[in-house]
């Protein structure tokens, strides 16, 4: 197990040495987002903006206009919905080289409740022209994605969860990660599970369970939701004939929405199901209880795959 948030903080420190124009902004949550690691190492390049997210985003755009590579961090709920207009005009419309890195995405935030459980951020960011949208799945991939955000131009949004997460990838394997290219984690022929972020690990577990029951599932880690790897999605549809998407996000407008759009326009008929939060707010509780109640764990993936293949 490792915490992707720590991977974020550690990678920022590493990149800070290599790129003197990298700067970091936070809105009074640096201990939670782990930008504090960068703040300690490079205090002159860290800007504490207080509880003022709108100002943080537009300030980041100003810094980027002078050649800086700003990473702006806070919880996913404050990093998107609260500052939508600032992101829309100052980052997306302006094609500013600003990276928003959000933590505490999804319902596994837990006991803080629905006010802090961001399940619309991917949809909100995905609809913005020029915006790249990312959801890394483990600590290793998080580090690599942060590096790719720093070295590729343009406005980008990435979200991770709050909790510790199992390590899926080793360092050598992860070097091949490219923005906009989905990763085939497990090959299979009967069905494809396309997951992002925190749902990739349960998808891998679900594959093992299904395999024992005679179902050979392919697992895709779709860390880049936009631009979507449409070729891979269509290929999976043609080869396995059944697709399930899994994300800790609303079923509307996120990974599942994006893939549904692609399949509807480009594919042969395919059996298809989205797993995510079903257009509702959730509640306080232990993360594992919430994921069980709202249908986002290994057990639910297994059940959904079997239901889908039955039809």
């Amino acid at each position: 197990m490792a915490n992707p948030r720590n991977a974020y903080g550690e990678t920022l420190v590493k990149l800070g040495e290599k790129y003197p124009n990298l700067v970091v902004l936070d809105a009074d949550l640096s201990k939670s987002t782990k930008t504090i690691m960068f703040a300690k190492k490079y205090p002159e390049r860290f800007f504490e903006m207080g509880i003022a997210e709108a100002n943080m985003i537009s300030t980041a755009a100003g810094l980027a206009s002078c050649g800086k590579i700003p990473f702006a961090s806070t919880f996913a709920v404050f990093a998107t919905g609260r500052v939508y207009d600032q992101i829309r005009i100052d980052l997306a419309y302006s094609q500013a080289n600003v990276k928003i890195f959000a933590t505490h995405g999804g319902i596994s935030v837990g006991k803080d409740g629905a006010s802090h459980q961001m399940i619309e951020d991917i949809a909100l960011m995905r609809v913005l022209p020029n915006m790249t949208v990312l959801a890394p799945s483990d600590a290793t991939q998080t580090g690599k994605i942060v590096e790719l955000m720093a070295t590729n131009k343009g406005p980008m949004y990435a979200r991770i969860g709050r909790a510790n997460a199992p390590i899926i990838y080793d360092k050598d394997y992860i070097e091949s990660v490219k923005l906009g290219k989905g990763m085939i984690v497990e090959d299979g022929s009967d069905v494809t599970i396309i997951a992002c972020g925190t749902m990739v690990d349960p998808a891998i577990d679900a594959r093992k369970t299904l395999f024992k029951q005679g179902i050979n599932a392919q697992v895709i880690d779709m860390h880049t939701i936009k631009p979507l790897d449409e070729k891979l999605v269509i290929k999976c549809a043609r080869e396995t004939g059944a697709i399930i998407t899994a994300e800790e996000h609303s079923i509307i407008g996120g990974l599942g929405g994006a893939i549904a759009e692609t399949l509807a326009e480009n594919s042969h008929p395919v059996r298809f199901r989205r797993m995510g939060i079903k257009d509702r707010f959730c509640e306080s509780g232990e993360p594992k209880d919430l994921l069980e109640k709202y249908g986002l764990n290994e057990k639910h993936i297994v059940k959904n795959v079997k239901d889908l293949l039955k039809n």
Binding site: M49, A52, C66, D90
Partner: protein, 283 residues
């Protein structure tokens, strides 16, 4: 008050009339846009580009340039006209304001137009953006200044006060904000829509160095800019007491001309007035 060469002041006053003529012409052609707030902002923008800022139209991305951010993006015609007259692009291009397939959008876009620093049009963002520019300048030990113009009504926006606090916290003395204090916003008098007074006390209590001048007096404008540049350890704000619609008698202090362009008769009357003013200044 410092001494300024009369010739410089005369030249700036004449350019301001020229820019006002462009603004009226552009809005009349486009049949949409914002005359009132464009005309009230003209004199400060003219002073910045023709007498104060370090900028080079032939090298708009010079890392050492001073930056001007028009946070009240609806005054774009005034800035476009100044950029064109400065040589950032052809004066001819002004004819295409708000036309399809043209770069001069209704509100400024930094990725389309040389010389535009920030995309604006949604109010309240510009001061934060300018803070970012000023922070980068401090970090890189550059000597450039960041200038940003806000509408008075724009300061209803909460983000302005987030940014005001941050600029003061980070002691951004390389940043100067202008408040185009014309007392009018779309729904009426600023004090009736959402009280702003005392504007001076508000900014002062946020830790800003405040000066207040006649925003149509070039001598006062240049004096206040120099004072702001030289003031240390605090950001500066210059409250520009202005007249909405300045320079066209029937548009002055008339809220109906916030976002409505002149019709043919109004256009002719306005141009006649401005031509007269131009002749008078040319002596």
């Amino acid at each position: 008050m410092e001494h300024y060469d009369r010739k410089i002041i005369d030249r700036l006053d004449l350019m301001a009339v020229n820019i006002r003529k462009h603004v009226i012409e552009m809005l009349y052609r486009a049949k949409s846009g914002h005359p009132g707030g464009s005309l009230s902002a003209v004199d400060m923008i003219v002073a910045l580009y023709f007498a104060h800022m370090n900028h080079n139209p032939k090298n708009p991305n010079d890392p050492d340039r001073d930056r001007f951010i028009l946070s009240k993006g609806h005054a774009a015609p005034a800035l476009y006209a100044v950029l064109a007259e400065s040589g950032y692009f052809s004066v001819d291009e002004l004819k295409n304001l708000r036309e399809i397939n043209c770069m001069l959008q209704g509100h400024p876009v930094c990725s389309y137009v040389p010389g535009i620093e920030a995309s604006t049009g949604s109010l309240g963002h510009g001061l934060s953006f300018a803070n970012g520019v000023a922070l980068a300048g401090k970090l890189d030990e550059k000597t450039y200044n960041a200038y940003v113009m806000l509408g008075d009504g724009e300061t209803d926006e909460g983000q302005v006060w987030e940014a005001a606090a941050a600029a003061s916290h980070y002691k951004l003395d390389n940043l100067t904000a202008f408040i185009d204090r014309n007392f009018l916003q779309i729904d009426g008098n600023t004090e009736e829509v959402m009280r702003l007074e005392s504007v001076r006390d508000r900014w002062s209590s946020f830790g800003w160095h405040v000066t207040e001048i006649d925003g149509h007096n070039m001598k006062q404008i240049l004096g206040a800019l120099n004072e702001a540049d030289n003031h240390k350890r605090q950001p500066s704000v210059i409250i520009l007491n202005t007249v909405k619609g300045k320079g066209v008698s029937f548009m002055e202090n008339n809220v109906d001309f916030h976002g409505v362009p002149p019709n043919e008769m109004e256009y002719n009357m306005a141009m006649e007035e401005l031509d007269l003013m131009q002749k008078k200044l040319e002596g």
